[in-house]
Amino acid sequence: MNLPGTRQSLVLGVAAQVALAIALASAVVFAAIYSEVRHSTRALAQAAIDADLAGLVEADAAEGPAGLSRRIADRLAFSPGAGDKPYYRLEDSARRVLAGNLPAWPDARPEVSPAGQLRLGDGATVQYRATLLRGGYRLLAGRAVNGAEAWLARLAGLFAAALVAMAALAFAIGRAAGARLNARLAAIGVVLGAFGREGAPAAAPVADPGDEIDGLTAQINSLLERTRHLLAARQELSNIIAHETRNPLMHVSARIARARAQGLTGEVDQQLAAAQDSIRQLQRMLDALLDIAASEAQRGEMNSLPELDLAELARRLVELYQPSAEDLGLRLEAEIAPQVPMRGEPVQMSSLIGNLLDNAFKYGAGGGWIRIAVAPGPVIVVEDRGPGIDPALREGIFERFRRAARGGASPAGHGLGLALVRAVAERHGLTARVEDGPGDEGGRGARFVIA
């Protein structure tokens, strides 16, 4: 089980690396041991051959070539098993064979008493030493080493098998340990991924006494817990603010309504009606602030968002705004893709597009033209041919209560529209920016891009 969003397994890679490292280290150790064993085995055999040859040389000194030949014949007669069968060859100065069983003289110069190995036609491997005797005679003594060589080959095979087994075992253990590690990481990932969703597990499992991962998990759990508390506290505060302002306003509003129901006329009634409007405006501002706060608190938290078709939403909004555009003498062009699926909160996304259109209607109406484009991504573009926005002021207009930053008359509104646009965009993992629009002589125009 891999963590969501991972393409390759860290654990599998580590297991393979450990297996490779163990294989390499074992190979070096095995090679050193094997080479030492082979060297000692051959040195032992050579020592026996050298001793044998020394005995024969002494015999030659004491008894001459005839005696030597006899000795050789004797030794061959006592030859033990084929495993370390002795081989000899005695030649005179004319290269005639006087004694011995070696079929041919190897490519070795007896003047330097060389040692070596040769292979015979019957498959025997013979280790030997040759030497030059008095009178130009030359002598070679050797012994078959097939037994020792076969043993060395078996040893090498054993080492190779052990090497493969160790590497495989290391890989298997690494993988199994890795799979357990992965499962534990995935358990944490599941809790983190589900955070904020309805019915999500509150904490990842922690063993007691725990290891490093349990320690990390415990810290993650406490961070999640704190985040949950902060979110709950924020929600509670915003509910309290709503409750504690709206209930008193409710009384004020009801009293005003009752007073007006008495049949007031003229100045008094107008003042009371204006007071009611002020109350409604205050509420709208409060709601917008709470909307912004809610979006900011959920920034980037996409898990709990439902699937929605932004194109459908945008079409409905354009239809809603079209009559207002006509009343203002504006051409409202819409370029909306057939479908723009995204994860989004419909109320918030409606507010985002609505606020962009409101904004374009308020400030861009002078240009007589507004265009909205919605494309997969999602990318939302709303542009106008109004006076546009001074580059130095562009960042500021997305901040709260910055409506004064835009030149010209300041239309009615709570000055929170674009702050809400940015908060909603960021809540959905998008950014909000403004650039020069397709302006003409009327002004530079403004283009708002949410992407």
């Binding site: 509910n239 309504a257 409604r280 809610a294 409905r316």
Partner: protein
Amino acid sequence: MSAPPRILLIEDEAAIAALVREALEEGGFVVDWCDHGEEGLRVAAAGGHDAIVLDRMLPEIEGLSIVRRLRAAAVAAPVLMLSALARAEDRVEGLDAGADDYLGKPFEPFELVARVRALMRRATNPLPGAVMLFGELEVHVKARRVHRAGQHVALSPREFDILKFMMDHAGDVVTREMLLREVWGLNFDPQTNVIDVSMSRLRQRLDEGFAGPVIETVRGAGFRLLGGVAP
């Protein structure tokens, strides 16, 4: 004369409860008041009420869970949820939980009464006839034709939807929020008067050639069809 409709009011704050109660009683309803969520649930489950007015923020039990439990217990009476949580997202939450309507505080007494009446009418007469009549207006639902005092009035599809919705609530105030939700399928709080613009177009079409209006704007609340017949 039949017995006056009974409303169950579940609201913990006495001052607000008094306001609501007064408004409803002036509107001709009999009001039973519970200041406690659990008690309210019990009374509601016992039946006998034509509608329930429920505050969302009760101290010991959330209004949302009361609605869910009422629905689970198959209580038929429609529920109007009152709340200081009045943002569009809050309203959607309340309606999703099973409330039939949602009214943000502060509200004006007549709006509350209008909403409760609309709820009860919806509950008792959910299917409108093929022809709806109100005052001088005659709306043929299937053919999507409208007549005022016998004269055909040409409307755009959207204008027809608005009028049809207002006929469903004839005589009562429909708010901008209700229109936005039911006619345009949108839930949010527009910052400009987009609804009023559409409404004034509908009005122009309906009033052309007539002396008096058929739609009245109720300041701060919404719009209402006028039932009077021109002399």
